[in-house]
Symmetry: C2
């Protein structure tokens, strides 16, 4: 019986597994589309392409989805759908020793479904997991190509010129702050003088910097950017706000959720207490806005975009979308070429005109590292971006690629997500 | 000398004045475009069209802008530019007796510039001011057609089927909550379970209701809407959140900034204290999110869209845009027809297919009244909208009309705003 099964397997191509990891983006499903379409095109060389439900957890729990049950139209529609269509998770595996049982379990699941390729779509944590999986499968004598696929709105992966997901979030925040600034400018003589928009990026100020793209000319909003890379200097900040309001009539500010005080502590975690008596975490925009009102007396408004900025497929960057899709296809291509422990990346060929191509990085050069905004991208005063930063960012938000609309709203696809029959008797215990 | 001037005036057509009032919207400039284009088309009957800088304040201060100095292309581009291009203000005039000097000053300014038509683009306060101005000018023997033009994202004007500005804000909030919900759904197994989006509408739940449009099928997000028309029932709310998470895996909530507690007090004004020790006003979304976390233990995220929702020209409703423009043209048409103390409104001819036409209402039927969300538009449980509400709202967000993009961002026009030479020696003293 076992012999028969092995014989049959030898004739049929091995299967592949795709998983999404960490925070969703506006275009991570475009990467999924690229992986699925490339795997379908490789019929005869790749058997079935499965997707893990809710990221690596689905792999651990042997909770797999058969992507071959999705129609070509549904797969295509993934390009226009935000979120992580197969589910994602925040679940970091530790080192090979500390989490040995989990890695062994992953190999057990991969073996049960004859997975020859594992495509893991995430940030630097995921690159680390992918790398370790390639190592343990080799050690256990299980042949596997473990390939990373980049994704993060934080743009903080090393080894790539930019990260899919970032360009769309950048386009959203720059558009939003430009629009809100026009509103503030309309009313500043009698109403709101200071507007604060909070953006994501706890450790890296790439999205804060992207807000600066909205200021096409000197004096344009946003007037101040507060980066997580620089400690908050209250006195200098208030002085700049005051001078801006006196000069322009109003002041528009973008602040990173990860802004830290002079002692290096996150401002948003300094425990305000709300009306229900709960300690309030998050929300640095209201803190900054109220500081301005209390010290300078200006009427303020603030916004916290939160998930809106990373889910805003309706205003996605076409460049970002194309790169996300291309990276998905490239991952499969690398797998078919027999590569292991690598990740396709974006290489910038030229900035004007903008040209890019797909390159390859080894996972060990990417895993667990974080690329912050370089100091040369932040203006000398610490409140703005430099021309070099603008040149870097500008192409990443280029182009529009709106989703289809139905009844006035973006029409997003819902997949069937047909489960793959389990082959293991044992369940995963975390 | 005086005789000569009067004689010359008798031969030249009288001028017109346009002013924007209150909060800006994504399409109030489309109304401005309609007014300007219609006035230009009426050359020979209307002299120059001026705009008051910063709304009624510009009229009081004799701070006027000559719209004839704007190019046809710039005027056309107003259709695609959010904010209030000529400036707006929050400045409510009281009754004719209490604020007699201000009304008299307005008539003095209008007389100095031979204004025969005053078009005031705002909400119910502005309708009141326009009405009073028509009354005092008649009393003072100054011939004036005072005409309102509707505008408010709150959709709370009576006498019109809907208000320009609302449809676009509605499309923005429904799109945003649909997108964010996909993100939450992706991660709910290990991360955020409850997401709260705060929307505008302090007294009327029209925008809260609009979020409900994102739920196309039963079980779709948003799962709960918290209306300003109903007092917040904490126990019932928490029970519904818990049951939703247990059934669907996550819960997405839209909350009005004007949600009130069991005693009728605004929740957002219950004075939380932030890290700087300031009393914190505004932000009901964080309150609700933290309540859920504290009582039910679910991880939460929240967003406050604030001005983003009323400035989001990039996702404006085409229906809304067309109505805003048409109302601007209609106001001029009414003026040319010799009407006074009226306001053009939207009349719904049919819902399926959606057909509308311009009607006329007398200002006295509109001024100072507020249209709340009718109870029959709120589901029996108080947390959702009814099919009747959905039928009413659906056509208002129909159609897309994106602005032009340049360098990846919406390209918005900046007007010249050439000042009109002052004719009065006296300054306005508030």
């Amino acid at each position: 019986m076992a012999g028969t099964r092995r014989k049959r397997k030898a004739r049929t191509p091995r299967n592949a597994l795709y998983a999404q990891s960490g925070g969703a983006t506006a275009v991570v499903n475009a990467t999924a589309c690229g992986v699925i379409e490339a795997a379908r095109a490789a019929q005869g060389r790749i058997g079935r392409l499965y997707a893990a439900r809710d990221g690596i957890l689905g792999a651990l729990h042997e909770d797999l989805i058969d992507t071959s049950r999705e129609s070509a139209a549904a797969v295509r529609a993934l390009r226009a759908t935000p979120g992580a269509a197969f589910g994602s998770c925040r679940y970091k595996l530790k080192g090979l020793e500390a989490d040995h049982d989990k890695y062994a379990r992953l190999v057990e699941v991969l073996r049960a479904h004859d997975i020859g390729w594992f495509f893991y779509n995430g940030g630097n944590d995921s690159a680390d997991t992918t790398l370790k999986l390639s190592q343990i499968s080799a050690r256990m004598g299980y042949p596997l190509a473990a390939i990373g696929v980049p994704k993060t709105i934080d743009n903080d992966l090393v080894g790539t010129d930019c990260c899919p997901g970032f360009g769309s979030a950048a386009k959203y925040v720059a558009t939003s702050i430009r629009e809100a600034a026009l509103d503030v400018a309309s009313m500043a003589s009698t109403s709101t003088r200071v507007f604060v928009l909070e953006v994501m990026g706890r450790h890296a100020g790439w999205l804060t910097a992207a807000c600066g793209l909205a200021a096409a000319h000197a004096g344009d909003a946003p007037h101040l950017l507060l980066f997580p890379e620089l400690l908050f200097d209250e006195a200098r900040f208030l002085d700049r706000v005051k001078r801006t309001v006196e000069r322009v009539g109003y002041c528009v500010i973008a602040v990173s959720e990860g802004l830290r005080d002079a002692q290096g502590a996150f401002l948003a975690e300094q425990g305000s207490v709300d009306a229900f008596g709960h300690r309030q975490l998050g929300g640095v925009a209201p803190l900054i806005a109220h500081l301005v009102q209390a010290r300078l007396g200006y009427k303020q408004h603030w916004a916290v975009a939160d998930y809106l900025q990373r889910a805003a497929r309706h205003i996605a960057s076409k460049t970002d979308l194309e790169q996300a899709y291309a990276l998905g296809r490239a991952a499969v291509r690398l797998g078919l070429a027999g590569r292991n422990a690598v990740i396709p990346v974006i290489e910038r060929v030229s900035t004007r005109p903008y040209r890019w191509r797909i390159g390859v990085a080894r996972l060990e050069t990417v895993a667990n590292r974080e690329r912050r905004l370089p100091r040369r991208f932040i203006g000398a005063d610490g409140f703005n971006i430099t021309p070099a930063c603008r040149r870097y960012l500008a192409p990443l938000i280029e182009g529009e690629a709106p989703p289809p609309f139905r009844d006035g709203l973006p029409a997003y696809v819902q997949l069937r997500k047909a489960p793959v029959r389990r082959r293991l008797r044992s369940a995963f215990r975390a």
